[in-house]
């Protein structure tokens, strides 16, 4: 504030510019704000209200972009830790409790590293390839329903959109491999092209039977079709389709045992060989986002989406906090105190060495755990979308665990086995699945529903 007490002539040039601006902001700012609140805000609200679809879309996209990074972080941590235990190792244990912040630090490290472009690489393509790969991975989230009403866009061609966008990943990988000016990258890119294109066909065909059954391509509709209980899940009507989808999706996401594109013992790191810094980070994140997406897709298409295995009786919460009046205030003030003391009591009584204040802290922590649990439980019971989200996440992460488990146990297949498997086994099997489904539908429709 020394500028205010100084004579105008003693001010520096910067001060002479800033000071009038400061006065202007202080005086004009409130006036403009008030005017905006009175005259412009209703207009904006009207526009937003009339274009609720766009608002919903923008909000959803932001949420998805924000969600994709922590999801990748969690899966990376999970992979490190689970494989470590399978390998009789400890895994990351330095950053955070049990090493849980390891992937965050790894992400920071990736940000701080030198972003290196090799000589003779095609710099523009080289830069944009990871963005492309990451974008196609994140775009797939758009149609994935996380819970009842928790989706960005309910496309009526949702499945088609998924395969279209998912298939675009290969373009990103191919240009990443091509532009790196490295033969390992080139081999990795070509391998990914061959692999993804081959497995795209059984992947798509395996779902056609399901589409025939469901009569829709909207993922939201498919999810709703499976409500009621686990016997309604499509995995029991399309077991072969589910199996083919699982295998082909593993290959699509370049996961072990189909991770030929980045086979470290053969072609170093495949298309990612020359990448460093955040560009590598994008490729890396995209891989794990893809893992989540194929897990989520498996859940949505075949394993009942957000539906609980056994339907939970819906309870309408009739508790209206407003009716309590002043009692609510007293409850909020008194109940935490009493509960904290109550939870502290057993610690204080049984642990003679523990000072009272430590017992109080423990009691407070225990109360918090119980309170959070109670709130979450209430949310589960009271809100459909919350229960749906919980079940969706549980199922999805079970599949993520399955993919990590496969990575920990299986060696890599060879390229000719890989292609042979796709064309000789998966493709005929998916066609067989389609025909059986079609015939079954025709027969059942003509007999059961004449």
């Amino acid at each position: 504030m020394s500028a205010l007490t100084r004579p105008w002539n003693n001010l520096t040039l910067v001060g002479k510019v800033i000071l009038p601006l400061l006065f202007l902001v202080l005086v004009v700012g409130p006036i403009v704000t008030v005017l905006a609140a009175v005259y412009v805000a209703p207009l904006v609200v009207d526009i937003l209200a009339s274009n609720l679809g766009i608002v919903r879309f923008v909000v959803a996209i932001t949420a998805i972009l924000l969600f994709s990074i922590p999801a990748a972080f969690i899966i990376i941590y999970m992979e490190l830790k689970v494989i470590a235990y399978m390998n009789t190792r400890v895994g990351p244990n330095r950053v955070g409790p049990g090493g849980s912040l390891h992937s965050v630090v790894a992400g920071l490290k990736v940000l701080l590293k030198e972003d290196f472009t090799p000589t003779s690489a095609d710099a523009i393509v080289f830069t944009w390839a990871p963005v492309f790969v990451f974008l196609t991975a994140v775009m797939t989230f758009l149609v994935l329903p996380f819970g009842p009403g928790l989706y960005a866009q309910d496309l009526n061609i949702g499945l088609l959109y998924l395969f279209a966008v998912g298939g675009m990943t290969v373009v990103g990988l191919l240009i990443a491999g091509w532009s790196s000016f490295n033969k390992y990258s080139l081999l990795g890119g070509l391998r990914s092209a061959a692999q993804v294109v081959s497995y795209e066909i059984p992947l798509t065909l395996s779902v056609v039977g399901l589409i025939l059954l469901a009569g829709t391509m909207s993922l939201n509709q498919i999810a709703e079709n499976q409500s009621g209980g686990f016997w309604n899940w499509y995995v029991f009507r399309q077991p072969l389709g589910a199996l083919i989808f699982f295998i082909a999706a593993t290959a699509e996401a370049n996961r072990t045992p189909f991770d030929l594109t980045e086979a470290d013992s053969e072609i170093v790191a495949g298309f990612a060989t020359e990448y460093s810094g955040m560009r590598f980070g994008f490729l890396f994140f995209a891989e794990y986002v893809n893992v989540f997406i194929i897990s989520g897709l498996l859940t949505t298409l075949f394993f009942g989406a957000w539906n609980a295995p056994v339907p939970f009786p819906h309870i309408e919460l009739s508790l209206d906090p407003g009716s309590l009046g002043i009692m609510l205030l007293i409850l909020l003030a008194v109940v935490p105190l009493i509960l904290t003391l109550l939870f502290a009591l057993p610690f204080w009584l049984t642990q003679s060495r523990m000072p009272g204040w430590q017992a109080l802290i423990l009691g407070f922590l225990a109360f918090n755990v119980v309170a959070v649990g109670a709130v979450l439980g209430l949310a589960y019971v009271g809100f459909d979308w919350f229960a749906g989200l919980v079940w969706f996440m549980i199922k999805s992460f079970l599949f993520v665990f399955l993919f990590v488990w496969m990575r920990g146990t299986l060696p890599r297949v060879r390229i000719d086995h890989l292609m042979g498997f796709a064309w000789k086994w998966l493709l005929p099997a998916s066609l067989l699945n389609l025909f059986i489904t079609a015939i079954a539908i025709v027969v059942l429709k003509s007999t059961v529903i004449p």
């Binding site: 190792r89 000589t119 003779s120 033969k183 391998r191 013992s265 053969e266 060696p411 890599r412 086995h417």
Partner: protein, 413 residues
Amino acid sequence: MVTETPIGKIRSDDDPRVLLDEQIGSFEPVPPYPPRTERESEFYTLGDGEMFLNMGPQHPSTHGVLRVVLKISGENVVDLDPVLGYLHRGVEKLCENSDYHHIISQVDPLEYVSSLFCEWSPVMAFEKLLDVEVPRRAEYIRVLTGELLRVASHALFQGWMALDLGGLTPILYSFIERDEIVEMLASITGQRMLFNYFRIGGVNGDVNHEFMSRLGDWMSRAAKQHETSIGLLNENEIFVRRMRDIGRLDRDLALRMAVTGPNLRAAGVPYDLRRAHPYSVYPELEFDIPVRGTGPEGGDALDRYLLRLEEVKQSLRIIDQCLHNMPDGPVMAKLPRLLRPRPGRAWAAIEGPRGLYGTYAISDGTDQPFRMKIHDPSFVHLQLVVQLMRGNLIADTMAVMASLDPIMGGVDK
């Protein structure tokens, strides 16, 4: 005076002393000189649709610092040219300049995963030069520690094999098994890796209580542990299908390529030095020589893999017999501090986990050998890669190389 242009740079036309900043557009792994041999000119000539792929010396699966130039056509390997020397230490020259006791520590790091076998053959050669009789207890200890290390080496082989095929887990179980053995050996030798334990005329120190208790502990569950590690991989369909029918080696080619050890036995030749040229106390011990690939087609990578697992069982049998039959007595022959063998020549060869480890030593009457030639099986087996790999896939290169089990320390000497 301008002599040579560094690879990848261009000299200015105006002033040949100036190196221009611009790069030559090619980074092909082709030597910057005209080919000197028939084979080199044949290899470095590209056919239609072929390209070179430089693998190594820094590559995740070349078992050390090996550089292999692959000539590939798509995913198929047309030809390959291993380039050695990145780990060359000139051990033979060092041995010619060190006295006989010192040599044992010089040859130790040759094969860092089974270094006792590298000590064994020079020590045996020097004993032949000196006409020393080794005490029987020392021989039993040599066989015991040697077979332990063979188990450790084969365990590590199994892990590497899986790692080169993309399986992450088995290598760590292999290292558990190996770690128990090296810790055991460390209790008598003081070292975990380069033991420096055998001496001319015996071994450096008797087995102690800690070793025996660890060994007994380990022996009680070694067979079960071995079954576990077999169960990790052997029935894995992907693993078996990748190993089957690659790198076929038949009896005739194996003998002509001077292959020895498990690789030769997996090609159908029941040749094991422990029986063919019995040394130490092996004639007194009971064990079988597993042989695979006796058919006309010979053995493939899977045969070589399975044969090593069978050898582990035989080694466990030998260890068991050593523990029961070990006589009492001294572990060192009486020898002067300064060894001056009479002029002469000696050749000693032993059966190691990779094959024949030989030493040809010439003495001129001084305290240093006049010439010492070390024969390492990895060196011979590595040149087999060229024969076995032609026409296979890039992914098979790793599988075949791993199934031959070369150690670059021994290859480069």
